[in-house]
Every structure is written in C-alpha cells, then in structure tokens.
Symmetry: C2
Subunit: 342 residues, 2 copies
Amino acid sequence: MSAKKYLVLAEGNSGDAHYGKTMRGIVDYAPDPVVAILDSMRAGESYREVPIVGSVEEALPLGPTVAAVGVATQGGRFPPAWRELLKACIRAGLDVESGLHEFITEDPELVELAQRHGVELRDLRKPPDDLSVPTGENLRVPAKIVLTVGSDCAIGKKTVAVELDRAARARGLRSVFVPTGQTGIAIAGWGIAVDAVISDFLAGAAERLVVEGAARGGELLWVEGQGSLAHPAYSGVTMGLMHGSAPHAYVLVHRAGATHVEGYPDHPLPTLRELIELHERASLRLRPARVAAVALHTGSLDEAAARAAIHAVEDETGLPTGDPVRLGAERLLDAVLDRVAE
Amino acid sequence: MSAKKYLVLAEGNSGDAHYGKTMRGIVDYAPDPVVAILDSMRAGESYREVPIVGSVEEALPLGPTVAAVGVATQGGRFPPAWRELLKACIRAGLDVESGLHEFITEDPELVELAQRHGVELRDLRKPPDDLSVPTGENLRVPAKIVLTVGSDCAIGKKTVAVELDRAARARGLRSVFVPTGQTGIAIAGWGIAVDAVISDFLAGAAERLVVEGAARGGELLWVEGQGSLAHPAYSGVTMGLMHGSAPHAYVLVHRAGATHVEGYPDHPLPTLRELIELHERASLRLRPARVAAVALHTGSLDEAAARAAIHAVEDETGLPTGDPVRLGAERLLDAVLDRVAE
C-alpha cells in the first residue's frame, strides 16, 4: 500500500484555535503529508500551504488515503451533520481516523459501510481494555520525565512537548515524545488518550505511557500535558496525569495575556506564581517536581510585544521563559536539562 | 415482591477495612436488612450481629433476595474464584448487585444464566451513557455543598458524609447525602460512581450529582469524597470531584496516626496542614472553599487515646476535630454550618 496521505476533516472549525487544534497538530507535526483540509466555510483558502476544500469529492484528485477527524468537540461527540461527511469519506474509499469520544468503530451503520467499501475505521481515543491502577513502575522508569502543564486547554502543551523533543533529538539526546491525547497519537502513531480512560485507571494509563516511552529508547521523555489544574472541567485529567507519569520536572505553558479560562468567561485564572506553587505542592511526595521553565504562547502578539511579554513573565516567575514555536526551544531545553540533572 | 434482603458477598475480605469496605457500608447504613455475610474464611463468626456464612447454600434459609458484591478489588476486577460464587447466587435465584469495574451485565455467561433463572443483574458502577463536561450549573445549585476529602482512600469519607447528613436531618435541616461510589449508591439507591466515568466527564458527572441532590430537596448536600489529592493512583478522581461538585466547604478525613498511603508504603502522607492548604489552593477560583473541620478515624485507638489524638489534631490544624462515628457528629456539623453560613 502507498504511504498515508491525509484529508483532514475540519468542517466549520479550520479557523478555530481550540476546536481545530487536531487539524493543526496533524498538519504541523504528523510525519505523513496532508493533501487537503475539508472546511466548506473556508474552501479556496489554505493553511500552511495545504489547500482547504469544500467537499470530499473536491479532495479526491489530490490522492488522500485517510480521512482524519481534525476537530475536537465539547464532550467529544459528533455533530449530526458529521455523519454524512464520514459516510462520504467511506464511500470514497478512505480509511477514517477519529479521536472523538464517540467511537466510530462501535457505530453499526459506519462499520457496515466500511466493510462494504473495504476501508478501515480507527478510534485513536479508544483506550486499551486491560488498564488498571499504577504499580509503582512509573517511579522506576530509567528516564528523566518532563510533563507539560498549563493554565488552560488548547494553549500548546502538546506543541511545546513536541518542539522540546525535536530540539533534544537534534542535540543527539535519546528523547521521546509521549502522546496522551488524540492529536499526539495521530502525530506519533502510539499512545493512550488519557481523557478517555475511566477515572480510576487514569494514573495507571499515564504510568504505562512513560514505561513505554522508556521502552522505546527514551532517556528523556516529554509527556504531552492535558487540561489544567485550574480548569473547571478537565482538572481531574491533569491531576491523574501528574501523578501517574511521575515527572521530574514541569514546563508550564501559558497564553500571553490570558486572564480567564477559555470558554468559561466567569472563571478567572490563578496568577502564574500561584499555578507554579500549586503544581509543585500537588506533586507526589515521593517524586517532588519543580517547574523548570515557562513556555509562553505569543501567537497573537507582534514580535516586539512577544519579547516584552516573555520578559514580563520571566520577571514575574523568576523562571526561564520563551516561546519555543516562535523563537526556538533551546533556552527552555537548557533550563529543563539543568533542572533534571539536579 | 417482598422487601430487599441482602446476602453480602465478602469472600476472603470480611475482616479487611479496605477491601471489605463495601460490605461494611451496606451492613452499617443500607436501609434494607442484611441477613448474612458470605466469607468462608470466617464462617461462624458475625459482624454487627449479622451471621457470617461459608456458602450460598448456608445463607438461603435466612431468606436473602439479593446478593451484593461486598468487596472492592484493586483495579475493580473479579478474582477468578468469584465467578463460581456469582453463578451459585444466580442459580439460587438471587438478584446480583456489583460495584466493580468489570460489569456483570456485560458478561455473556452470567447474563445467560440470569435469564435462565429469572434474576436481575445490576452494575452499580455503570455510568449513565449521556454524560459530558460540566455546564456551569454546579455553581448555580440552590444548596450549600460540602465535600468530604481526605488523606487516603478507605478511611471513612463516605461514612463521615452519611453521619453528618443524618445529624443534619435530625436537626430538621433539608439535608441530602450525595453518593459518588459503589457503596454510597448501594446505601442511597441513586448516584454515579465517578471513578468509573471517563476522565473527561468526571467533573460533569459530579456536577450532575449535586444538581440531582438539590432536585431531591437538598438545601445542604453532603458529597461523598473519593480518593485523595495525595494518593498516587486516585488523585485525579479527587480533583475532578472537587471541581465538578463545586463545594462551599470541605471536611477533611484522616486516620489517626497514619503516616503513609495505605498499600503504598513508599509514599509518605503530607502533613494535615499541607493537605488543608493544598485543597484550599486547588479549589475553583470562582468557588473558593475552606476546610471547615477534621473528621478523625480513631477506630484503632482506645477512648482515651482517641480523645488525645483529636486534641492533637485540633492543635495542629486549628480546626474543630472529632470522630463522628465514635463520638457523634454534632461538633463537626456546627463547624460546617458556621462555615457555609459565612
């Protein structure tokens, strides 16, 4: 079979930083090429030189082999209109990959259609069925473990982990990115979506991921963070991941200027100093971890304002701060390596 | 049909405070009577005047109608020997209630056997299938919400909530116990086992429970706590419950003299002052909650030592402290009512 070529389905969301984040992650970081993005609202435009098309038919001449669901939805369910889109992809002979909570592999109509058209359905968020509680192996993993945490969802915790892993590998370090969510899994080709695991086994799933990261040769593991301790919906996921992955250090990710939880305008964010202290206090007593650096998402600022924001956060927190996407990951990587060497 | 009469299955665990805690909860607090406990290791003994029997056959003359799985297992799965026990109950015409993660209603052999014998299987830990993230309704619930939190699992967070609810009702308050786990559900006849919910919907499930508690007439809700922020396996459940149930106050539960997490001898507990500070810092900014009182589990101490331990904790924390099971819940109830009235 020829290599994987993606059609990324982002209907209605290709321009949305939050709900379109899976699309962006696949386009920006997946090893296989994206030949088209589907979003009828923005057909004719492009994202990172990938054309945006208005229908499955329009994408077919570009030769996609896999349709990847490139949106996150509140609650992880498919909007009704999406059924028709998925069926059109299956009828066009494309495999379908989804990271939503509503599993396509358990939908009788889609399964039947896929069998008829000889295509494969894959649920990236479907957890292994043999998970349990942690065994303590997380604390014996022969690697230094770094977890990205943050002030909110969808601010770049995955991207920061991916960029730091890249920078570490460029230096010749045995570094591995450890995916914990749908987009990370799409990028790396392995992983467990910890937010889809039953709460009791959340830490056990995180433990299994760092054990596997080390088994894949990682002496330095960058664990993709999820949610935020300050988030009214997803803080439990964050906490379970913090204890189960047993990091030696954190990188705190924040969007420059954000004052409230995105989508929850009543919920003010703690200050960065409060967040740093909360993570350090909430760490396992047996594996006390410190925040080594702050990664600031400055995408909405011009370069001068971005540099000013970085300096302001550095002053506020006393920690090395940078925007690894915009300005390179070296400074943050140095800070983390110093911290985990202690 | 005649009223429910329980045979509580506690094979191998009736003497174990942790793994037998469901048995104890049902015997101590369920509204329906327990006619026998099954544990072949302790047949002939009794617990709270309920006879312990060695086999299902031995229990039948006592007239049970329902066999309740009265153990918690690490990971929530059935030890292989239990299959035979469950089948014996079904063959004897008993309905079966289980709170383990491994669902008896999804086991083809047990389902077929139950149909053949005309009995019902019930999975208390099976979550509703329409859960999602919180909507913000938790912050608009017209009730004062109190969550029990603690230094560890299986130290009495449920019992403290049940005792405080009883004491509040005895004073004529419109008080409701809100069950969040298998035993609580067995006791109260409603609820969601939040540890069996997928992590993303944990806070949403907790929100639904406090909304329902108020709909059941509660102006004062006692939410059964789960796990501990200090627990290496279950901290995620605790955190999601803290944010999703949006309490106005906490009662911190601790076992007198405990220094390490039970079953995790390498994991030291934080001090009570650290735990109090951690819970208060981790609360939602929009619903800052304080620890109103400490409930000390003094079951292993004689009365003089219990009173001394209570005074010591009161000195250490500066908070009203008591053992509501042993010495009555009035003092703690006063402290909580003072706190939520502020």
